[in-house]
């Protein structure tokens, strides 16, 4: 195993449950170097273990070369009509303002749960890597629009530094074999399947190399925003 691979294994063992995510102002302040050193260190520590915040930060940094483009006047005019303040809310905002003026305004940045712990791309494609000697097997489950899932398999031989063809992969549900494919150019794509428990079996010639179980299910205890 390469050093980086080994380090990833070690950090995945160490990975603890990330604490609550910083609010958006804190996160933006972090990227603009506007936080106190203590808070900055706290956000960076959180970032190490929170994939959701990592994704947000990556997308933020990837949209830095801002190229402002024209937006249709029709849409602009439409969104301009969206703001409909009412008198009660105006009074309420005045009361809120009065209270906020008399409250203590020291360092108010705090860590609060602001979004779910899972990000959209993780919802769409689920991937996994496993070593089934001598291959590095990458499995992907792609969520299609119509509640069906497509399973992709890729086998790479690190000794030969190439994708491996000729490997047979069987997709089974329970004892029933749904499909059996031979990898071409290292890859195979199975017919879409519904949610459930599946088994991928890897065979080379007549040797059984190993299996990967895939469980596609509804998530329990969705974290509330």
């Amino acid at each position: 195993m390469e050093l980086e691979e080994k380090l990833k294994v070690i950090f995945s063992r160490w990975k603890s449950q990330p604490g609550p995510c910083p609010d958006f102002e804190t996160l933006a302040g972090f990227l603009e170097k506007k936080l106190s050193p203590k808070l900055e260190a706290e956000v960076r520590r959180h970032l190490c273990s929170c994939s959701s915040c990592q994704e947000l930060v990556k997308l933020y940094l990837e949209s830095e070369d801002i190229f402002l483009e024209g937006v249709s006047r029709r849409i602009i005019n439409r969104v301009k009509t969206l703001f409909k303040p009412n008198w009660f809310q105006r009074v309420l905002s005045g009361v809120r303002e009065w209270f906020s003026n008399i409250s203590w305004t020291g360092e108010v940045l705090s860590f609060q749960p602001v979004r779910s712990s899972f990000s959209s791309n993780q919802e769409k494609v689920f991937s996994h890597q496993e070593r089934i000697y001598p291959y590095q097997i990458r499995t992907e489950v792609v969520h299609l629009e119509n509640e069906l899932f497509q399973i992709w398999v890729e086998a790479y031989n690190p000794q030969l530094c190439q994708l491996s063809s000729g490997l047979r992969v069987n997709l089974k549900k329970g004892e029933k074999e749904l499909e059996s494919l031979v990898l071409e150019q290292g890859r195979a794509v199975f017919e879409p399947v519904p949610k459930g428990n599946y088994l991928l079996e890897f065979w080379e010639n007549r040797d059984f190399l190993g299996g990967i179980e895939i469980l596609i299910k509804e998530r329990e205890n969705e974290r509330a925003r």
Binding site: E4, K6, L7, F11, F24, T26, L31, E32, K34, R44, R45, S51, L56, K58, L59, Y60, L61, S63, I66, F67, E69, V71, S72, I76, V79, K80, L82, F83, P85, N86, Q89, S93, E97, V108, F118, S119, S120, N121, E123, K124, F126, R131, I132, Y133, H143, E147, L199, D207, F208, G210, G211, I212, E213, I214, L215, I216, K217, E218, R219, E222
Partner: protein, 193 residues
């Protein structure tokens, strides 16, 4: 200290007071930025073919901001620039919407179920040696200080060196150098064990 300019602060105050003209000024100021960020997020999430969604998400985002007397917008307390905060909000809003569109919330578990023992890469002795090596490395990593461990974790979690440079407020060369030094330090730690 607030990062808001006087104009921005006045604009938010006027929106808070329910001035429609202020809302329109806000739309004129930030519409293009928001539109760009939503489009870019969709592109980066591999939704190039769904670019017509930009208009829908754009309008939905402004509805989100305008709700409840623009409470979300006026809750901004100025601890970062208004533009950066809006960018993060728009990215997160787009991601949330994509998630909702993808239907039910799902998860997939993968588990290695069986390995043919005759096909194992190592003899039992080699496997033991490999495990010992990993344990030694783990011990070496635990001897690094917290900052160094965090740096390695972030380095290995998919950020590019130029992105890490922005996270560490430095330049990419420093990131490469720091990583190379840490690798060297780990090697020395391993030698000394």
């Amino acid at each position: 200290m607030s990062c808001l300019s006087r104009e921005e602060s006045q604009l938010l105050d006027r929106i808070k007071k329910g001035e429609k003209q202020a809302w329109e000024e806000f739309v004129d100021l930030y519409a293009r930025l928001i539109y760009y960020v939503i489009r870019r997020t969709l592109e980066k999430r591999g939704r190039k073919e769904h670019l017509r969604e930009v208009d829908d998400i754009f309008q939905a985002f402004f509805i989100h901001l305008a709700e409840d007397n623009a409470r979300r917008l006026t809750s901004f307390s100025g601890n970062c620039s208004l533009a950066s905060w809006i960018r993060i909000l728009a990215i997160n809003f787009t991601l949330d919407l994509l998630k909702k569109k993808s239907g039910t919330h799902l998860e997939v578990e993968f588990k290695l179920t069986a390995i043919n023992p005759t096909k194992s890469p190592f003899t039992p002795l080699e496997a033991l040696e490999e495990r010992e090596k990993l344990e030694k490395l783990e011990q070496a990593v635990s001897n690094l200080n917290k900052d160094e461990q965090e740096f390695l974790q972030l380095y290995l979690s998919g950020f590019s060196p130029s992105q890490l440079a922005k996270i560490y407020h430095t330049n990419p060369n420093n990131i490469y150098t720091r990583y190379a030094r840490l690798k060297e330090k780990l090697k020395n730690l391993l030698k000394s064990m």
